[in-house]
């Protein structure tokens, strides 16, 4: 009997030792600190900066910005952590919930409430006061109770891209400025060429297509989905008019197939391939369009307005925003880096390299070397009112976009009418906003 028991024990012990051994070996290859990113050693501070920007900028740009900062601040080191953009929203939320966020965090403006809801962001107003920083030149700070928690560093406008060759082929000679001109052009392109007039990216994974491709029509004509006290109110005649206009494009067969599953990055590809004549897209895509189709003859223009509208035009804008983790042990140093990014010279450089516009009004981007398209877009930017009402600090804004997207998909596939669509959206919004404060 002893032999049996002994061999069992021997076997199990051997297995246990092997397991522990391999774990120790593996553990030696890792480093297990970084609960909130930063560390300090004898006056030197290391900060972690989580972002996805490095991949969107020319190679090496982010690194050189960081080295520039380190040169100016010899006792601060910046650890650059680059994340996959598709998953940054989720992983940032998970990190915030488990106190693993980096010291400085890059975010999209629409995630503001998701992170603020967890108390994950540090109060920047306090930090600005301690650092005697004058923030009057910053466009669109995101605030709660009058304190700033997130600052947009770069703004990306979404003008209309127009394929001039396709328009000419369809017999259209000028860029549409109003909705009826747009419809005429879209119809002509769809009927007389192999391309379609318009495309929308309404995929549910990242539902910002509702802002970029649908609400843009409302905002261009000075409309709004917000009512009194900034509470969302979408069931209005002006929104209904815009929805019916877009639906008319669908019904006339002007829209590129697959829009209900299309993601934002597919639009510039379709445009570069000449599959669609007009689209609303981020200015940042100009570079990739030109590299994919160097001979493409296209122009940028403001989003068409309602017939007869003469007021100031709104233009959809997304942003690269930045904030500081509330768990950071080195908030003051982290603020120094944020201040560095918002410094007019650096901000201008960052914005230009990213094909966006600076979040600091005092930053004058040097567009003399830029593409004429960018220069044109800057004109549009300065003449319009950049706004994205989903990024205004509304609670659960991603869910709101998703609710709207679900209803729009039903509407554009003919399953319900516009009144039901807007009513269902508003109901869902009311429900979610109420729950968000339960």
């Amino acid at each position: 009997m002893a032999r049996g028991r002994r061999s069992v024990r021997r076997g199990t012990v051997a297995v246990g030792l092997a397991a522990v051994a391999s774990l120790i070996v593996a553990g030696c290859g890792s480093s297990s600190n970084s609960s909130s990113g930063g560390s300090a050693a004898g006056g030197n501070v290391t900060l972690q900066f989580s972002q996805w920007w490095a991949g969107e900028l020319p190679k090496g740009d982010m690194d050189s910005l960081v080295s520039q900062f380190e040169q100016q601040n010899p006792n601060i080191k910046i650890d650059l952590v680059t994340n996959p953009y598709q998953n940054t929203h989720d992983s940032t939320i998970a990190q915030a919930a488990t106190h693993n966020m980096s010291d400085i965090v890059a975010m999209d403006g629409t995630w503001y409430s998701d992170l603020q809801n967890q108390g994950a962001l540090a109060n920047l107003s306090d930090l600005m006061k301690s650092a005697h920083y004058d923030d009057s030149n910053l466009t669109g700070e995101l605030k709660t109770n009058n304190s700033v928690y997130m600052i947009p560093a770069v703004n990306f406008v979404y003008p209309m891209f127009v394929n001039m060759d396709l328009l000419k082929q369809a017999g259209i000679t000028s860029i549409p400025k109003t909705q009826s001109e747009f419809k005429a052009a879209a119809d002509a392109v769809s009927q007389k060429t192999k391309a379609k007039g318009f495309t929308l990216a309404l995929s549910p994974q990242t539902p910002n297509g509702v802002a970029n491709d649908v609400m843009a029509w409302v905002w261009a004509s000075g409309g709004s989905m917000l009512g009194a006290n900034n509470t969302p109110n979408i069931n209005t005649p002006e929104v209904a008019q815009a929805l019916e206009f877009v639906d008319s494009l669908y019904k006339s067969g002007d829209v590129l197939a697959g829009s209900l599953n299309e993601q934002e990055t597919q639009k510039p590809n379709a445009f570069a391939q000449g599959q669609v004549a007009m689209m609303f897209d981020s200015l940042a895509h100009v570079t990739s369009i030109k590299s994919n189709a160097p001979s493409l003859n296209f122009q940028l223009a403001p989003v068409p307005v309602k017939d007869g509208y003469t007021g100031q035009e709104g233009i959809n804008a997304a942003s690269w925003a930045v904030g500081i983790s509330n768990d950071s042990k080195h908030k003051a140093e982290a603020w120094k880096f944020v201040q560095f990014l918002m410094d007019p010279a650096n901000n201008a450089k960052l914005a230009t390299e990213a094909n966006g516009f600076p979040g600091n009004k005092a930053a004058k981007p040097d567009l003399s070397q830029s593409d004429p398209h960018i220069q044109n877009a800057f004109q549009i930017y300065q003449n319009s009112k950049p706004l994205n009402e989903f990024a205004n600090g509304l609670p659960v804004s991603v869910q709101l976009e998703s609710d709207f997207d679900t209803q729009l998909q039903k509407y554009f596939t003919g399953q319900q009418d516009v009144q039901t669509t807007l009513k269902n959206t508003q109901d869902a919004w009311d429900r979610h906003i109420k729950a968000a404060t339960k």
Binding site: S7, G55, N100, T265, N269
Partner: protein
């Protein structure tokens, strides 16, 4: 017990007369070609795309090879230390997970297949139940636990996590494989005085090698391809290949060529390993050798 046909006959005869055998061969080969096509053609397209520059990958009408096709994407890959590091991370984690899973699942499968003990059905339910909660809903509490244990952004943390993901399948399947082996083997050995461990490692294991290796292959694939926890549990020090691949999907553009090249390059070693070693576990070497 001897076979029913003499060795000489066995060499030359197979079930069925000659003509239907040729027909069987034709249909089998056809079926295999279709199956292989089903499996491989999309990947072949991926490989051909990895040779093209980005602007040509999405061109319509699609073309197999263009004038600009080259291996530039691959040479870029092999000069990029970050991507090579991710190979190291993925293979290290995959290997550790596979070895540990095989050892543990063989032990556990044996006891679940051969022994009767109180709480056995509860154990089986736990084994399957552990993977019954959608991982996406477990992420935040799990991440909290890993952080408290100090394993955030470490190899150990990810290895342990992958083990938890692979154990249920490995244990259930090992049990099933052991179930297919007759107990008479055990009993014969036990009469000779062998202990449980001896029966397991010296008698049952060699016969169930096909099953063990198939579990090993699956475990390695699972760990190699795992994305969710690799994303959430690591930040900087550990970056596996799936995360590297996702990094090519940017906000403004997708670097298809680099993404496809990394996927193909990463799978080639595994494929070669499988090609070379498969005959040791699937080549019919062990087939029918211990029956009767």
């Amino acid at each position: 017990m001897t076979t029913s046909a003499s060795p000489a006959v066995r060499r030359t005869r197979r079930p069925g007369p000659a003509r239907p055998r040729r027909a069987a061969k034709f249909w089998t080969i056809l079926g295999l070609l279709i199956s292989a096509g089903f499996a491989v053609l999309p990947v072949l397209w991926m490989f051909l795309s990895s040779l093209k520059p980005n602007r040509q990958i999405l061109q319509t009408p699609p073309r197999l090879v263009t004038g600009a096709s080259s291996f530039a994407g691959y040479s870029k890959l092999f000069h990029d230390t970050a991507q090579l590091d991710s190979f190291r991370d993925s293979y290290l984690i995959g290997g550790a997970v596979t070895v540990l899973t095989i050892v543990v699942s063989v032990l556990a499968g044996y006891s679940l297949s051969r022994m009767d003990f109180p709480g056995k059905s509860a154990v089986m339910t736990v084994v399957i139940g552990v993977q019954s909660v959608p991982p996406i809903s477990l992420v935040i509490p799990y991440l909290g636990l890993i952080t408290v244990l100090g394993l955030y952004d470490s190899y150990t943390g990810l290895i342990l996590t992958h083990l938890v993901l692979t154990f249920p399948y490995a244990i259930v399947m090992m049990t099933a494989y052991f179930d297919t082996l007759p107990r008479s083997l055990d009993e014969a050995a036990r009469v000779d005085g062998a202990s449980s461990m001896r029966i397991l490692w010296q008698i049952l294991l060699p016969i169930s090698l096909p099953g063990v290796v198939s579990i090993g292959v699956y475990t390695f694939m699972l760990s190699w391809n795992e994305f969710l926890f690799a994303l959430m549990l690591t930040k900087q020090h550990v970056r596996t290949v799936p995360i590297r691949i996702s990094l090519f999907i940017g906000q403004n553009a997708v670097d298809w060529q680099a993404m496809f090249a990394l996927s193909i390059a990463g799978s080639v070693p595994v494929l070669i390993f499988f090609l070379v070693f498969q005959r040791y576990f699937l080549g019919g070497l062990a087939a029918g050798s211990v029956k009767g």
